[in-house]
Amino acid sequence: MKQEIYSHTTSQSALVRVAEISARYRNRPDKLMDVILAVQKVVPSMAEDVAAVIAREMGLMQNEVYSFITFYGLLSVKEKGKYIIRMCNNAPCHVRGARAVMDAISDTLKIGVGETTQDRRFTVELCPCLGICDVSPAIMINDKTYGNLTYDSTQALIKRYIREDV
């Protein structure tokens, strides 16, 4: 398991940027979240080498960084696709047809929950309430949310992402 999730090697240039971001908050553990959120935007995966740089530059232990990342639902040490599709599966979305949305996503991308497409563009995940139940069923793709989805509108939406029409 460790092999699989930690095997990613980050490029030197990306690690330099990670170091730049982290060095600004030396001995400021309360800035760890901000650092990780910023770093996550410049590396494909929060791999071991990334955690090591953050720890070194912020003056933390590497296991503190690792245990932090693995705790939070929106952070991950695994390599994810360019677009992370998060499907809300809490009850208010569930009763408004979340299942059809899920089906549309997996039918279109041919992957299931927790998987990433081979071209590394899409990862599909389940998540708890997105706070937009007034338009459920809802999903979030990276930083954008979409609501009132049906099977067809979801499929059309995913296709727009496939064509990079976003």
């Binding site: 309360d30 245990s67 809490n90 569930h94 706070g131």
Partner: protein, 431 residues
């Protein structure tokens, strides 16, 4: 029935994140009054007004301020809980987007009351669109002299920063939230010490929900008497309700405390969507009780709902139509808690998992009467011995459903075919 808009009075107005626009609409008048008062008098005002927390527990807000007020520490903190993790809740998002200054003002008032100079807003990461709104609000408030070093020339200093969550429901729990801001896993702390004495960074801290803080601004602005005249004898003021699920007009509504639940669903929100019948209602999000249609003729105030075994909590009203199965909803709820359990304590980490397994077994038509007894036994253990509110409330939907819908459980025990449970069997597994 008409809404009573106090907290949402500025909804729909443009540029409400500009301090100047907020001030034009009567904003920061409450803070100005607080600046002329002694800290204790601000607390006394909130006490007289009878403000109670809007984040879940309905705890008297003045008492939390008093705990921090009574300490001698140089550094104290005000924290705004904008984690809004309770499934089905949208109200803090709406309030933050349409009137961010009312929350900043409330934080500064609380700061003035206890002598805190620093505030944090802990915002869930699922609301990235709110970040620029609050950032702009803070900047313009500083320019207008309503935040910063010398607020309105009074010599009082108050600064606010935003901190982000990253998708953990448990971080809405106050001590877990502090851990998260400090840069650690969001695992709740043992109590005592209580946050009022030792909270964020080990300093006295007052943590309030977004809506509670906004209420403080309006109470200071309009006075105690005005506030007391809204709502019921024990729950004053207005309340934001998020009405969602299978209801015709979903959304966030504001009404005086004590509005009738049935009227809210049928008269205000147009009843069940698509002409279907009402199966059940869950109040207070996933951690609230699930009740029958014949039980909904009740006033929505903090004490009434607690007396009926549920929680008004964050004011979430989840409407469930008769194409659903109560057991399927319970399974969804308990799966949520099992997934979000932080794992620090055994009763919750294991108990929620076992309850989920047993509910799942009953859904699949393989349950026995003994499983029902085991669920009750587990629930009692989790309720009485879990460390934080996540564990305590995880049993509420399970037990309330068993009490209120015994026939649904019986028919699944008998192995009667349930289309809903059968169809969903495969789908809702977490990745």
């Amino acid at each position: 029935m008409k809404e009573m808009r106090v907290l949402l009075q500025n909804q729909g107005k443009e540029n409400m994140s500009d301090a100047a626009v907020y001030i034009e609409n009567g904003g920061y008048e409450g803070l100005k009054k607080a600046l002329e008062m002694e800290g204790w008098d601000v607390i006394q005002t909130l006490k007289d007004a009878g403000l109670r927390g809007r984040g879940g527990a309905g705890f008297p807000s003045w008492l939390k301020l008093k705990f921090a007020y009574d300490t001698q520490s140089e550094d104290k903190y005000i924290v705004c809980n904008a984690d809004e993790g309770e499934p089905g809740t949208n109200k803090d998002r709406v309030l933050l987007s349409c009137d961010p200054h009312s929350i900043l003002e409330g934080m500064a008032i609380a700061g003035k009351a206890v002598g805190a100079r620093k505030g944090y807003i802990y915002l869930r990461a699922e609301y990235p669109q709110i970040v620029p709104i609050i950032t702009h609000a803070i900047e313009t408030a500083k320019q207008a002299g309503a935040l910063g070093e010398n607020i309105f020339g009074s010599g009082f200093e108050f600064q606010i920063s935003i901190r982000s969550g990253a998708g953990a429901y448990v971080c809405g729990e106050e001590t877990a939230l502090f851990e998260s801001i400090e840069g650690r896993r969001g695992e709740p702390r043992f109590r005592p010490p209580y946050p009022g004495i030792q909270g964020l960074f080990g300093k006295p801290t007052v943590l309030n929900n977004v809506e509670t803080l906004a209420n403080m601004s309006h109470i200071l602005r309009n006075g105690v008497e005005w506030y007391q005249n809204i709502g019921t004898p024990t729950s004053h003021g207005t309340k934001l309700f998020t009405v969602i699920g299978n209801v015709a007009q979903r959304g966030v509504y504001e009404f005086p405390m004590g509005i009738n639940l049935k009227e809210l669903i049928f008269d205000v929100c147009g009843g069940v969507a698509d002409g279907k019948g009402l199966l059940a209602v869950q109040t207070g999000g996933a951690s609230g009780a699930i009740i029958n249609p014949f039980q909904i003729d009740i006033p929505l105030d903090i004490d009434h709902i607690s007396a009926s075994g549920g929680r008004l909590g964050c004011g979430t009203i989840f409407v469930i139509d008769d194409s659903n199965c109560v057991l399927d909803i319970v399974r969804n709820n308990i799966e949520f808690f099992s997934h979000e359990s932080c794992g620090k304590c055994v009763p919750c980490r294991e108990g929620t998992r076992r309850m989920y397994d047993l509910i799942q077994k009953i859904c699949a038509g393989n349950g026995t009467v003994k499983d029902m007894l085991t669920i009750r036994d587990l629930a009692e253990t989790v309720r009485s011995s879990a460390l934080c509110g996540l564990g305590h409330s995880s049993v509420v939907p399970v037990i309330s459903a068993m009490d209120n819908f015994p026939e649904v459980f019986e028919s699944h025990l008998d192995g009667d075919y349930c289309e809903k449970c059968h169809m969903q069997r495969r789908v809702m597994k977490h990745g």
